[in-house]
Amino acid sequence: MTALDWMALPFLAASAFFFLAGTVGLLRFPDLFTRLHALAKADNLGLGLAVVGLAIRSGSAAVAVKLVLTWLLALVASSTSCHLIARGARREGVEPVRGRR
């Protein structure tokens, strides 16, 4: 374990936490729209933190730039996908839950 590894570790651990949170949200939240919310936010944050951790560890600017670009692409794609899924679901007549269940 080098110094860079130790610096990367907290980011990787935090990313694992957010991935877990996203999965729990996907499995436990009451309706489609809240589940989308869990995915689009928690998971992309998890990916971002993983990218930061790996970029630190790589110690190479070129690799770091590539990793960050990958994350930005994933952000654009996944936010658009989530929008499309929500829109498609509304057209199908899926309604969000209201109030407590």
Partner: protein, 316 residues
């Protein structure tokens, strides 16, 4: 590396279970989603198996276009309303499937745990080809005739799909909406750049015509789905020429090498790298248009209908 082995076990167990679920679920949309999930898992499995070339194509097809093809077909065909078969019949069919694959499992079991294969021979002779990446050498040189015929198969499949779709009423897709349009406008040039990079590095690293072609083809499918955003309009004959380009260039090189007294597709050493790149570039364009054409209708027919919104094209 125990975590790696645990990951292998997880994937190896999950893959057939996901496949079984895709087969057994009643709802077809669900089956297709499971198939798509399987594509992502397979991409990780290819990565674990040291096959990044295959992982790239899987990421574009298995986790992309395949699902699109199924969803498009489902929108036209409708759900499976057949009554489920009797439990005894299902058990018998499962036993039949198990009996059919049991000999394969036994054959795999009988194979030695370590086997050199052709890896050493390939690596020894890679310098004779125009590429330094072994998979590219195998694909375009050692087994070039095989690849040549496979491109012909792709063309035949496109002709078949176009013929089967002939005379179908055009679906009127709903408007893609501003967000998808904007995202596609943003991503499209990047995808073309990525495909170009994959093509360029293909001679020395994982990448090449099949990877670049499938990425570009998926890009065309995405652009067509979003109502033809950022796609140039080109006449049908251009589309057809691009479909045939890869096969034509490959065949011409094969003919030229045969005519110059060499073995079929044995490239002259001095020009090997250039010839390979030319073939790969032509193949990339053709594979991209093939992937798009497998999903779309014959553009000639669209034009004959005088359809106002008919757009087709190629961004490369």
């Amino acid at each position: 590396m125990t975590a790696g082995l645990a990951l292998d076990v997880l994937l190896a167990v999950a893959l057939p279970l996901v496949g079984l679920a895709a087969v057994l679920r009643r709802d077809l949309v669900q089956s297709v989603m499971l198939l798509f999930s399987l594509g992502v898992l397979l991409a990780i499995a290819w990565a674990r198996l040291g096959a990044p070339d295959i992982a790239m194509v899987e990421a574009a097809l298995g986790a992309g276009v395949t699902g699109v093809l199924f969803l498009s077909a489902l929108a036209r065909v409708g759900p499976d309303d057949a009554a489920p078969r009797a439990a005894s019949v299902r058990v018998a069919l499962a036993a039949l499937a198990a009996a059919a694959v049991a000999p394969v499992a036994l054959a795999v079991e009988a194979l030695p745990r370590a086997f050199e294969g052709l890896g050493r021979e390939v690596l020894a002779r890679v310098p004779e080809t125009g590429a330094t990446h072994p998979v590219t050498s195998v694909l375009l040189d050692f087994r070039g005739y095989d690849t040549l015929l496979e491109i012909a198969v792709l063309l035949l499949a496109v002709l078949g799909a176009w013929a089967a779709r002939g005379g179908a009423p055009s679906p009127r897709p709903p408007a893609p909406g501003p967000i998808l349009t904007a995202a596609v406008r943003l991503l499209l040039p990047l995808m073309v750049v990525v495909a170009g990079v994959l093509l360029w590095v293909g001679s020395s690293a994982p990448g090449g015509a099949f990877q670049a072609g499938t990425v570009l083809g998926t890009t065309l499918v995405l652009a067509t789905l979003s109502g033809g955003v950022a796609l140039p309009r080109v006449p049908p004959w251009v589309v057809r020429s691009m479909l045939a380009l890869g096969f034509a260039v490959f065949l011409a090189v094969a003919g030229a090498t045969a005519a110059s007294g060499r073995a079929l597709l044995r490239y002259p050493g001095a020009h090997a790298a250039g010839l390979l790149l030319a073939i790969e570039a032509a193949l990339t364009i053709s594979i991209a248009v093939v992937v798009w054409a497998l999903f779309e209708r014959d553009p000639e027919e669209r034009r004959a209908e005088g359809e106002a919104g008919g757009r087709e094209g190629e961004a490369a």
